[in-house]
Symmetry: C2
């Protein structure tokens, strides 16, 4: 899809957005405020704009009169840009906020993943499973070699394959498959982790099927299960799909899952439920990619320690009991069908190793997939999902910890918090003068609640505009009905009842903000503690790798405003997306990951923050916006001073709203 | 049980037999003839003897009058010796045959198996699975090692166990089992074939169970399945049990089994049926030994190529089709439960490798179990069962072949042939003068038919006494109703209708004898051909190892009389019983067998006799009793001359029977 330019008047602010984007999202990205509180459902009718030039599409709204429609009026939330477009924001929908406008597009972190070309150039493209086509000489009266011996001898002589192992299920296929196309066959080889190990012949197929060799990579998250179907010939991901982990119905976090698993039959249920999700994702991947199930040779899994143990039906109860030991950190390869995975019986399953009970295979996969394990730069790796884990270090050493961040980033503990799903407010801005909100929801529906990234954006914006102070308290002097006291708690109304899906006002209150501050404080102080324990500080950090489903949506600048991330140059921040999934894919593509991962895991020193004395002080200091020591955020400090002056000036020039 | 001496009068022949033996069997062993044709069921009433001294037991027969009973008369078949006994054979039951009496007890081959002590002395007692008891330090706040790492580290540090592998099912047991007895556990280790391989931890149990470590060894025969329960601590076999292979209902020989397996669903049926037999045998072994199923760690299988492929559900159709290639010769270890074997999931199964389609794992197991693979003597190994296979060679080289002997030795192709079961005539002698038979059946029942060993004995005895000639034809001049023509075929009546279970006369005819001659000719000429192909002859043979279920019952001297075995000194013949079962047991007890078996298998050069030019000539020459070249049997030749003179003299002195 090509990009188009949307120019907003009267501010004359231009932004490039993908063709088909809605005007309200373009305005959000450009930092142009348009009043809106129904999330883009066309209900509140506040986001009226005038299209002065260019092609747009979208259903006409009843809330716009025929007369106005002819003048070019439309609802910004319902109108999609089809080419370069000029949009005027009428005075009733906004005021001039160009003074506050951000210069750079929102998502400043560069997305970086190890590319397939890079792997190839480094000679690391060694899939864990490989196909070889062979033309065997059929047996005759002078040559009675058994079928298996015939194959193994041929592979030794002509392909330099030694010490091959053939398991019983493959032996069972051989006599028939060999004779289907006169002893012309394709064998699938599963490579050992160590070169001293044995290569296994896991599959035989008649004829030449070497062009079809696929793997599935799966990230088993506490909240979501994401899968990719990977072409082991081209190295490309042919399909990707995610589903909520079916275990969600049994509890939101790992602890509640473990507690359920402790009930009679609970572990089996937990395992079956997540496998059902895995199979659902698999089904989509196969449908999407049109790959035949028979040509999938490998599945790789990455997940946190609890998710891994539940996936493998390994008793998790000691993960949540002092002294918090996991059962194992390394799991051997096994047959995918042994877990109930809906693939052919020859498919080998690989599972990422764990570090500890709370730093699991998802983090290890992230460290491998992001390339952190190969960098010389002092790196801060942060994976913020249902749990938050941080790793500091480089190719020579690593320290890691799990942060008790709580579920705020997933909407947990927030009055109107919800997961990132349709109807969740994911973006927010505020008119600094009228204090009217502009909200955008996922799916452009009327709002139902607030998701994690929306919450960060809100708190950052409210703080930046002085609506809340550095302790997260509302400015009691502001004149707006949007801020009010409710049961002794101050709150801001994001959307009134009539414009929501839930028949109630949707608000954010001081308790919500406090919970977010505690969560970000736990993560920031976790990083600081790790660095301090190895004799370093935030200033030494040369790059930040942001990972996790949550990381996909967080706005870097706003994450720095609230003090979730340390203040660094945006170019030092690398966003790797779902690094667990990335790592799972990488281990399918290059056996060198598998060869090195055990060493890396052993190198990762785990810190139990609750047992690390400096942690508590760091935590208390982080319970402010952005931090007690605001000098750790010098650029923010300068900007805040400047912006607040502008806002104060703007407010002084304007009469109070009626 | 202690032995007692039975002295027969008037010949004054003494023999030592186990206490509780019947008088008729003692007479048979001593070569004392007593007329008897009902097999020991007390029906024919012919075997009247007088107990003149000593203690006997047994039910009194109605066929003996009270008066006679007081004189000591009883039926030899129904009377059991309890101490040293003197028995007079009255003239009506016998004549003096002392001239023909054999000097040595019948079974002259020494039974020899590798002893456990020998294995221990040679430092070879290295079971394929081993138990180790460990007391681990439980985790605490300072020691968060995962359970599996804790175990593996301990075994490395304290037991010098390196490169351990732990599979998923064991990992699943670990968290609970470790905490049952405060981290005091017994681990079961499965050793790799090669020292370069990895040892697997296959089981964990709470507390110290090292004293209970057992294996099951199974011989999967075409006709029978024999199992032994082996104590891997003491090396002793605690129980042994055999059952008919349930596949018998689907065909007697391997070809008919393969044909059945080729039908839709046939292979699955064949596999399930033999597994059902295996499980039946297992049940008996567990009951007999009172061993807990949980402490069985290993099962080892040996069987011919077809039986092995059917056991493993590996398509057998190409075994019976030119160019007769088996699917595989070597099978990797696998989980016993994967086959449906009724043992715990941790149990490792090992299968003996094959040489070719018709020299299978049973023969390889025999070569290993009998120690042939370690001897310097030129050895002839013969396994005569449903199939007959021969191996010649020593520790440096071996040649082997399957002989198309047909099923005569199992009673197949014989008019009244039957398997060795109750009612089968298994022993036979003949009054050289009256030509009246003395027969003994298995289970002392009225006869139903003739089993293989009975057939050999009959043919040898009939030949030795001149009743048949060296082509197996009856002497038409003999005066007895027992020899008669029936549908143009001459036959000898073994038992008349009234004394059988089948309401018919049981006979042996010239076609039966011809079939036996062809069978023994195939085996003898097979041996000769192999020897010739390697530039040797029968004279070079330094020892004969006799194996197989059939071998258990064959009488050495009689086997030489018919020319089934070459004529050698009895002390050169070693009888090893069910060598396949022996080999299966040995591979459980000492890993050195497993380490060497692949090399031995590779060394065994397989000859397809039908494609070996010298075979046909050898076969034709062997279609005589004992052989065309009777000078190959010099001692027999001398004895025959002497005996026949005696018989002729005896017959001349006696009037013809009425």
């Amino acid at each position: 899809m090509s990009n188009v330019t949307v120019t907003f008047l009267p501010s004359n602010t231009a932004i490039e957005v993908p063709q088909g984007e809605s005007i309200i999202r373009a305005a959000m990205a450009a930092g142009v405020h348009i009043n809106a509180s129904c999330g883009g459902d066309g209900v509140c009718g506040k986001c009226r704009v005038i299209v002065e030039g260019g092609q747009v599409a979208g259903e006409p709204s009843e809330r716009i009169s025929a007369e106005d429609r002819e003048k070019g009026y439309c609802l910004a939330c319902k109108t999609l840009v089809q080419g370069d477009v000029t949009v005027r924001v009428p005075v009733e929908s906004t005021i001039d906020t160009s003074a506050l406008q951000r210069k750079a597009p929102r998502r400043t972190a560069s997305v970086q993943q190890i590319g397939f070309e890079e792997i190839k150039q480094q000679g690391l493209f060694l899939p864990a499973v490989e196909k070889i086509y062979v033309e065997l000489t059929p047996p005759d009266a002078q040559d009675h070699l058994p079928d298996v011996t015939r194959l193994v001898n041929h592979l030794r002589l002509h392909h330099n394959e030694h010490g091959l192992e053939v398991e019983l299920p493959v032996i069972r296929k051989i006599p028939t498959v060999f004779r289907e196309q006169d002893f012309k066959v394709t064998v699938t080889l599963a490579r050992p982790v160590r070169s001293s190990g044995k290569t296994q012949i896991i599959h035989v197929q008649a004829g030449d099927t070497t062009a079809q060799n696929y793997a599935v990579a799966m990230d088993i998250g506490t909240t979501t299960v994401f899968g990719q179907l990977v072409d082991l010939v081209s190295g490309q991901a042919l399909a990707e799909h995610g589903e909520f982990n079916g275990q969600i119905s049994y509890g939101e976090d790992v602890i509640s899952r473990i507690m359920f698993a402790e009930k009679p039959g609970g572990l089996a249920t937990m395992q079956q439920v997540v496998i059902a999700t895995v199979n659902k994702v698999l089904g989509y991947l196969l449908k999407q990619s049109k790959v035949s199930r028979e040509n999938i040779s490998l599945i790789t899994f990455a997940g946190n320690t609890t998710m891994t143990q539940l996936l493998l039906a390994v008793e998790p109860r000691y993960i949540r009991r002092s002294p918090y030991v996991p059962t194992a950190t390394i799991y051997p390869p096994f047959r995918a069908t042994d877990l109930g995975v809906d693939l052919d019986p020859h498919v080998t399953a690989l599972v990422y190793p764990q570090v500890s009970s709370y730093v699991g295979g998802d983090i290890v996969a992230g460290v491998m997939g992001s390339g952190m394990y190969r960098t010389e730069k002092l790196t801060l790796f942060m994976d913020i999902g249902t749990n938050a884990e941080v790793v500091v270090g480089n190719k020579d050493w690593m320290a890691c910890a799990a942060c008790s961040a709580g579920p705020a980033f997933e909407g947990g503990g927030i009055q109107f918090g919800m997961r990132a799903a349709k109807g969740a407010i994911e973006d927010f801005s505020i008119d600094p003068e009228t204090l009217e909100p502009m909200i955008v929801t996922i799916g452009n529906q009327r709002p139902k609640g607030i998701c994690g990234s929306g919450l960060i954006t809100m708190v950052a914006t409210l703080f930046e505009t002085g609506v809340i102070d550095n302790q997260g308290k509302f400015d009691r002097d502001l004149k707006t009905d949007r801020i009010r006291e409710n049961n002794n708690v101050y709150e801001y109304v994001l959307a009134y009842r009539e414009t929501t899906q839930i028949d109630r006002d949707i608000t954010i209150n001081e308790i919500d903000i406090d919970n977010l501050i505690r969560a970000k404080g736990a993560i920031y102080s976790g990083c600081k503690t790790l660095l301090k324990e190895v004799g370093m500080s935030m200033e030494n950090v040369e790059q930040i790798i942001l990972a996790g489903g949550f990381g996909s949506y967080v706005d870097l600048e706003r994450a720095m405003i609230i003090g979730l991330l340390p203040e660094v140059e945006p170019e030092k921040v690398i966003y790797v997306g779902n690094s667990s999934l990335l790592g799972a894919r990488m281990s399918a593509l290059t056996n060198s990951i598998r060869q090195q991962v055990v060493g890396v895991t052993n190198m990762m020193t785990n810190f139990e923050l609750s047992e690390t004395p400096s942690y508590y002080d760091n935590y208390i200091a982080a319970l402010f916006l952005p931090h007690t020591e605001v000098n750790q955020f010098p650029k923010l400090q300068a900007r805040l001073t400047e912006r607040r002056a502008l806002i104060a000036k703007a407010r002084a020039n304007k009469p109070s709203p009626p």
